[in-house]
Amino acid sequence: MAAENRVANASAIGETTEELVAPERGWFGRFIREARRYPLFPIALLLIVMVIPAIAADWVAPHDPKLGSLSAKLQPPAWMEGGSTEYLLGTDRVGRDILSRIIHGARVSVVIAGIAICIAGVVGTSLGIAAGYWGGWFDALVMRLVDISLSIPIILLALVIVAATKPSMATVITVLVLLMWSRYARLVRGETLAVRVQDFISRARVSGASHRRIMIRHVFPNVFNSVIVLATLNVGFVIILEATLSFLGAGIPPPQPAWGLMVADGRVLIASAQGWWVSLFPGLAIMLVVLCMNLLGDWLRDRLDPKQRQV
């Protein structure tokens, strides 16, 4: 009977839970399962592809990411015919080293994703707690803003912003914050509503704590886990969005080494079948990072906040 219930729960919740009841067979299943239980694999990959390059780009990168030599333009990767070990992943149309640009691009991605998620998280969490705690007209106002923000297709708004201003890092971050704050606000408000009615809140109030103190010391710690999980799950999404904007010419301006921009550099070459490596490698970098962040986020969610699974 109990087992049946668990099966029913598992199928209601979705895909991850039936791991509880059904042992997975085959090396691949075991591999995925292990990678999910202890996310060593994504963490290690993230260190190699994103964290170490982002911190130590200046020392790790073999060449200057912005400076190319025209004599070495469009060199294929080292293992191909005509490639040299000097440029491991080849060079682009103006002879810049692809590997160095990917390494420096990691820094751009990390900085943008970090700043955007921090601002959106702080703004969204504060508004969410305040709205959920106070209720009333303030709650109504914030929730209307959330609805509006969620129903405007953000990539279009980004295009307007780009048409009106110059593309820059600040513009990209603004767009990303505008897109994301509402997700945090909605999540946190919901959690706050549940926390607010609990006994320890009224007891804190009775013992003389101010509203501000209650929000910061009693409500915030209770919603913090959810915020961290959402933030981790958001990183991949933000990196893809930033890359898309840069790819469209609406994000990081050239000659900055941003991954999306690098893929865009190779677009013409792909169509004419000349230099596939210019677009392939930065795209792989995006994919690996996002994949790892998603795995890490799933793991963190299962550990810290199983409730969110259903969302």
Partner: protein, 307 residues
């Protein structure tokens, strides 16, 4: 029910109004809007024409209402790049191409996602299930524009099976861009099909069908899938937004003559009237679609009306 509809319609109008305010003020953020609105090589005549047409010498709130009034009649001014064309006519001319591509993308997504979703539910922990899981994992990690480029590289540039870009080659030219746009939907749709199939497989009427001796394929594809299709179907409301995002970057990759590409070109070349026309048209489509879907849900599921 009426209250709910009125509330939702009001909300949609409010959203549209906020959007027009944003678009309106963005053009005026950086000092003289003509600096933003006009490309560098614009003539004085262009400037004067625009100044008069937009009434830029009048107070801001009057300017906004002029803008709003014009927008309501679909008048966003003339394109600054394509001589002698209004912005809205450029948009309307390309809208069918975008809609056609998005439609094919949805069909492609269904054709891939439903069979894998069904099979991975019926044969849980089999090869299909793993394939499904891998697709789900990669579906969320691959940037659409990069996938499009890689498809173009392999199947168009190297193998030559499909045209590299444009839509001049009939049905063939739809395939690659449609896969690139639909790919992201595949992952989400497949997981939904799988989990709702797992629910349905467990019900009494499916057991009864089996006891009656109905052939297994018929049980799965007819009895189960029909019932399991409800949840994934509702997901299509959410799809519209991401289809639009997809169409913007994929139309750009494949030089598809649609609204998405028009939007990118106009934004990069600072053709502001066209950008405004695209954004407001797209958002109108999106908001109206969401509104209709919500009202349809409210009819189907009374709980929504009261929440």
């Amino acid at each position: 029910m009426q209250r709910y509809i009125i509330f939702r319609v009001g909300q949609s109008i409010l959203t549209l109004l906020v959007l027009t305010v944003i678009v309106f003020s963005l053009a005026r953020l950086s000092g003289d809007p003509l600096d933003v609105l006009l490309p560098l090589e614009a003539t004085n005549e262009d400037a004067e024409r625009l100044r008069a047409a937009w009434g830029l010498d009048r107070p801001v709130h009057i300017q906004y209402f002029t803008f709003l009034g014009n927008a309501l009649t679909g008048d966003f001014g003339d394109s600054l790049r394509v001589r002698g064309r209004t912005a809205i006519s450029l948009v309307l001319e390309r809208l069918p191409n975008t809609a056609a591509l998005a439609g094919v993308a949805v069909v492609v997504a269904i054709l891939i996602a439903v069979p894998i979703g069904v099979l991975s539910a019926v044969k849980k922990d089999s090869v299909f299930d793993y394939v499904g899981k891998v697709i789900a994992l990669f579906g969320q990690s691959l940037p659409a524009f990069w996938l499009g480029l890689m498809l173009m590289w392999v199947f168009a540039a190297q193998l030559g099976w499909f045209p590299v870009s444009g839509k001049e080659h009939g049905a063939l030219s739809y395939i690659l861009p449609a896969i690139a746009i639909g790919w992201f939907q595949v992952a989400a749709l497949m997981r939904l099909v799988r989990s709702s199939m797992l629910d349905v497989l467990d019900t009494e009427y499916v057991k009864l069908a089996r006891i009656k001796g109905v052939a297994e394929w018929k049980v799965i594809w007819k009895h189960c899938l029909r019932n399991a299709a409800i949840a994934p179907f509702t997901y299509f409301a959410l799809i519209i937004g991401s289809l639009m995002v997809g169409s913007v970057s994929i139309e750009f990759v494949f030089a598809w003559p649609g609204v998405g590409r028009l939007a990118v070109d106009a934004a990069v070349t600072k053709d502001f009237p066209v950008v405004q026309a695209v954004v407001i048209t797209f958002c109108l489509v999106y908001i109206v679609a969401n509104l209709l879907v919500d009202i349809a849900y409210a009819y189907v599921d009374p709980r929504i009306r009261y929440s």
